[in-house]
Symmetry: C2
């Protein structure tokens, strides 16, 4: 009923103010006045009480003291036992409470994650929230035909350069597997190369062998200008699955972790147990196990190098227990990721978790709603680094470029909710209400307050549509995918980053097997 | 990366447990063990601090004391001035703080909203959350062609009988305008008739003239068995837009309000100001104005009949300030509705607000994400009655039957998040983790805990799809709409409620101009 009421009101009263509002909107806003920006402070949603958080912490300590971690590699055993861990008779490393507490006392806090462009530096601590990509999808999704094809290096480059243009995607972790490269070295190296060539935002990548990482570090030194410059502002972090849940170290990943820590590369300590499969089906138990694993990882990192930057990466995943398959879009996932954020806050560590992993194979209503309820809750819980937040489908098996744009709108909207409601005296608006009702036109359309707040308090979508049905029919009834396709084409045809000087790129190509063809990297 | 890891784990270990899990799932669960149910307690998301809530309350009192409400009808002026309101020299009714406080002291609390079937009774107080339909859409949406056609009485009946089958839609307020009925009496009467004939859940409806409501009450008495039985368990509430924001009483609606209160019909005191148009653009100011208006409405209801049941209906809507058009899917909407829930909690009143009003014209990704971030936040804020939560499109201008089913899944998922995380010692799972790691198979797929929790702790979608890409291709790549269409067809072909005895229906048809043809009401 109100839709009709307000529509009528609009028609009769809005004409005068509309032009003024349009003109006001034409002027670009300085960054500090924009309705949303990266790093807004969450924390207004708390799935766990303070007592719950403490219970989970104590249970995790119990798990580390009494059960511990299997399969540590010799170098890991050496540094961790030096730090106080105990290798017990069945070969598991256990961690006395004091070891965890010592680690928490010296762990790195408040370290920025740098972009190649300082404009994109992240400050992921307290309850500040950043969204980015991630994953290792093996398919690219065509949102119209539903075709799933193998992902390749060029896809990773395209993802990076699209992310480079999107306001609400704040970092770019590797999203797809370069499947045309059978050689694991070439795959690891080119994944990182494609990402850092495509964006000046902070990049995350992954390596399966320490030698691949060492070569990639050499490339990153070349881009930075020198090893010292790289170490001053490391603009790539390592996504490291150091654990095979439940409670076993992943040996290859641990070897890569040691190289990253020594090479000045921040490490995302990623534990991705799946509740009901590789973690307890009880959500609280799944969190306990992940917290224990990430605390063990933190002991490891700090035993190698006290205060080395590490992200507390509790990525508790969910199984559909009818089949055992992962359900990244489930509401249980939202609870787990939001609770993870609270655990990182409890430790005052930079927390990383996952949100936005729909089970849908295509950018349909299900993809939209699964991503949105996850983002709304995980974002408002104040997770610092929200991975997997854009582009993903099929519980991480597929990536869709159009979805990057659609998801950018979801994240923008989520950020607006994180920003919250200004309840200053000015915003309470008593005087504005009084003037409007007793002296004014009886509506707020052209009021000074409305003009002032329309850009700073309201966020507008990039591809989302707010036309009325009549206008929409005139536009040819475009749905989200059609609108995203149009915008995507503009970006793909026009945004070719060139932040790495040609001479540096030449030197990289002379030294390493770069497999991303130059013709893909410039407008042709 | 973890997707690959867990997929491998699945393949190697899950075979044994899968059959057991499937068997366990075949048995129906008693209601108290189901993963979600109506009336779960929200409140873990709080966009406003306690201090913010108090500031808004005091500002609303200020507005009522100093600005007041225009356009009260004589009978309203009579009862409200008797209750202490003051008619000032410019014809506005102002409300001293003491009048508001007296009203709040005697206002109805903890009144159930009844269904024709007691199984569907609602208990909307504290922070208990119920979702339902609402609206006055003028179009039915074809989700495949994008066609918008005029809505008719049969559509309202179909909406009601579909809602009747859906677990997560707890009440059925009128959703569409019966546009084939030019006579306002016939329209009001048949809207109510179509809804109460289609579902035994609590119904909301709306009337433009007291005589229409009086006739409808007679029909409701016939269905109840007598006026006394109706008054014992009124199963229809009146959605009443008693205010034309800002701060003017709506005269026709006020006349209907008086009839409803005297007729024992609960009233939804619905204030639907639109921030930036009929309410301040500052979100806090929009809430202040709506709270003031609903408090005035509450004075009115209680002045007619102390303790008459009324729902505190702060439906703060949002304008897209570039055009003045409503934006029901915006993130600002989620903030306003969630904050509204907190204001009703502050007064310990049954609060009603709106969520799920996408701006999208069709059930695409945008529709999914706009509905989901609104539901996730408004639901977790603990709004008691969440209206407009299913089926709506185009900011309330269109209704889509397939979306009812899709939105039912969104609400089911939202309810799972509202249920939260059980952090009992048992769920912390230390012993389960110990057994699995030290004695067991090294995974949780077939564990006793997993089998026990798969139904009580995990919610499964009705139309949402969790198949893998290969299975999905084999199914013909159905998207959300295709899956909803299939399920919708089953419901439409099979669910014909017959809770109103034929003799009663005959009597109603003999006395009133029922325009819903009988052939539409039974399987034919």
């Amino acid at each position: 009923m109100s839709a009709t009421t307000s529509a009528t009101t609009d028609v009769t009263v809005r004409r005068g103010g509309r032009e003024a509002r349009r003109a006001a909107r034409a002027a670009p806003l300085p960054e500090n006045m924009q309705p949303v920006r990266s790093g807004l402070e969450g924390g207004r949603y708390k799935p766990l009480s303070d007592a719950d958080v403490l219970k989970i912490h104590n249970a995790a300590i119990d798990v580390l003291e009494k059960i511990g971690m299997a399969d540590a590699i010799p170098s890991g055993i050496e540094v961790m036992t030096k730090a106080g861990a105990i290798l017990n008779s069945n070969g598991r490393l256990t961690f006395p409470r004091a070891v965890i507490e010592d680690t928490l006392a010296k762990a790195a806090r408040r370290f920025p994650l740098y972009g190649q462009d300082p404009r994109h530096d992240l400050h992921p601590w307290d309850k500040k929230v950043y969204f980015g990509t991630a994953g290792a999808a093996v398919h690219m999704v065509d949102p119209v035909t539903g075709d799933y094809r193998d992902s390749v290096t060029k896809d990773q480059f395209d993802i990076a350069r699209i992310v480079d243009t999107l306001d609400h995607i704040h970092f770019c972790q590797r999203s797809v597997v370069c499947r045309e490269l059978p050689d694991p070295f070439e795959m690891d190296f080119n994944t990182c190369y494609a990402a850092v060539s495509g964006t000046t935002k902070h990049v995350g990548s992954s390596w399966v062998d320490p030698r691949h990482l060492e070569a990639s570090l050499q490339m990153l030194h070349m881009i930075a200008g020198s090893e010292e410059k790289w170490r001053e502002r490391p603009f790539v972090s390592q996504s490291n699955c150091f654990v095979v849940p439940p409670l076993k170290f992943a040996q290859d990943a641990c070897r890569c972790l040691e190289v990253a820590v020594r090479g000045g590369m921040p490490v995302l300590l990623l534990s991705a147990g799946q509740a009901g499969a590789t973690a307890p089906a009880a959500l609280a138990g799944a969190i306990v196990q992940e917290v224990a694993e990430c605390l063990a990882g933190l002991v490891y990192v700090n035993a190698i190098k006290p205060g080395a930057p590490a992200i507390f990466g509790t990525w508790c995943f969910v199984s559909d227990l009818r089949t055992g398959a992962m359900s990244g879009g489930s509401p249980e996932q939202a609870l787990l990721s939001a609770a993870s954020a609270q655990m990182a806050q409890f430790y005052d560590l930079t927390g990383g978790t996952a949100s936005g992993m729909t089970d849908s194979k295509t950018p349909d209503a299900q993809a939209g709603y699964e991503k949105a309820y996850n983002h709304a809750l995980v974002g408002n819980a104040g997770a610092n680094m929200i991975y997997e937040s854009a582009g993903m489908h099929a519980s991480l098996l597929g990536f869709c470029l159009e979805s990057l744009l659609i998801d950018n709108d979801i994240i923008g909207a989520t950020q607006r909710t994180i920003k919250g409601i200004d309840v200053s005296d000015e915003h309470l608006s008593i005087e504005t209400i009084r003037k409007t009702c007793l002296e004014g036109p009886g509506h707020y359309l052209g009021s000074e307050q409305t003009l002032q707040l329309m850009q700073t308090e309201y966020v507008y979508p990039l591809v989302g549509d707010r036309s009325n049905p009549k206008e929409w029919v005139e536009q040819g009834r475009p749905d989200s995918v059609a609108r995203a396709q149009k915008k995507l084409k503009q970006i793909m045809n026009n945004h070719y980053p060139a932040h790495i000087p040609a001479a540096v790129d030449d030197a990289i190509r002379a030294k390493f097997p770069v497999r991303l063809e130059r013709e893909f990297m410039r407008k042709g």
